[in-house]
Each structure stands twice: as C-alpha cells, then as structure tokens.
Symmetry: C2
Subunit: 137 residues, 2 copies
C-alpha cells in the first residue's frame, strides 16, 4: 500500500480533560476537535501540532476497548494511523501481502472518516490504522 503521511498518533488516556490540558498548555498544541462515540465506547479529542495530529482517547466505561487497554497496560501509546487515498485498496494490498487485518472492510471511524485497523502482529507489535481523509456520512 502507499501511505501518504502519518495521519495521527492515538493515545489512551484516563482523563480526557486533563490530557487535553497537557497537550495544549504543556506541549503547545491546538485542540482541533472533540467527540463522543458512544457505540465505540470512547470520547476522543484531536490536538494538532503544525501538520501533525495527536488523538487522545478516553473510555466511556471500563468494559470498552480503550477501557480494557487502560486496565491492562495503563495510559500510553495506543496506535499509529496512516493516511491513504483509498482504504479498501490499502486493505486489498495488505491482505495480498499476507498481513493480518482486524477490519477487512472500511468502517466509519472518529470524526466521520473512513478507517480500518491492521493487527499489531502484522506490524511489529504496533496497532496500525489506515484512514482516508474523505469523510463518509
């Protein structure tokens, strides 16, 4: 597949307001967007640094994907997302290369973007996302 750039770095945090303050006041980023995705059990905020983006992810409860991650590993780095032109095309390339996929078809991710996740076992232990900037509705 052809990645155009790192789209964002996803971080799991316990307290979203506190994390937003750290990334804006302490590190000097700018809050871009904030959104609750109840069906994914996450409240997310994006903080930009120039053309780079940090995605802060706080669970809406303990029995959610990010909640279980926090219980198991504590707060910290969660995933890396790469921007591609075409998520379905990227998934086809990855599958033909034998990479294990979590999402075999694109789905709606945060902020209305089309995304899919690749299994960490295919990328040296890093949960990896591909994302297309064109929004889906």
């Amino acid at each position: 597949m052809q990645s155009l750039a790192v789209h964002h770095i996803g971080l799991a945090v316990a307290d979203l307001a506190d994390a937003i303050e750290t990334y804006t006041v302490l590190l000097g980023g700018t809050l871009e967007h904030r959104e609750v995705l109840a069906d994914q059990g996450v409240e997310a905020a994006s903080v930009v640094f120039g053309s780079s983006r940090i995605e802060l992810l706080a669970p809406t409860g303990a029995d959610t994907p990010v909640g279980r991650f926090l219980t198991k590993r504590g707060p910290g780095m969660h995933h890396v997302a790469y921007e591609v032109d075409d998520v379905a095309g990227a998934l086809a390339d990855l599958a033909s290369a034998g990479a294990e996929l979590i999402d075999t078809v694109p789905r709606r991710g945060l902020f209305g973007l089309q995304v899919a996740f690749i299994h960490p076992d295919a990328v040296h232990g890093v949960l990896t996302e591909v994302v297309a900037v064109a929004r889906v509705t």
Copy 2:
C-alpha cells in the same frame, strides 16, 4: 513550550531489517537513514511517509534501554518526539510547569540532533522527546 510538529514516532523492534521491510514494502514508506549508536546500545533507522517520520529502534544487546523495553513489553510503540526551535528553552518551560524530566540538559541524539526526554509520568504514560532539527556536532 511550543511544539512545531511531531518530529517522529519511535518504535522498538527486535529485527531491524525485517522492520525496515515492513515499513517500506508493506506500508509504503521510504528509508531515510540508518545508524548504529554503540554508546546508546541501539541501531536506528528512519522511514519517512510524506512529512512524517517513523524511527525504528533495535537494541544492540539485551542489557540496553531498548533491549530491556523489548524484554518487558515486547516490540511496539516506544516514544513520541516533538520538534522545537530550542531544546534548552523547552526544558526550562517544562521544568517551570513542574514536568518531570529525564534529561535536564540537551544531549546528542540519533542522527546528530539535539534532544531531551521527558518522563512518561508527566505526559500520561507516553515517553516524550523534544528535538531541534539543527544538528549538533
């Protein structure tokens, strides 16, 4: 402090050649640089995706910082580095805000850049680096 951008994402890997292949062939990045830093116990390679950069870090032995990280946590995300104009100024800002620092003065990092590390406890569990693009010799 004022971060200009994410400079790179640092990933701990067990096999550098295999990881370079994953990030260039599977994900479509371009190998930028490769270097052994014997005194830091690491062999590093940077892979770029547009204006974004992944730094792959393989230990030169088990009893090194990255070697111990791999033993404890396995391969995966290691740190996030932010570009600043002035590392010493950033450290002064961080210290005055009460952030715990690993490096209280700038030091030479990979590829001859001036760097310093901030303790993960100050940044919601994320080992965080500040880096100035001007090289030190």
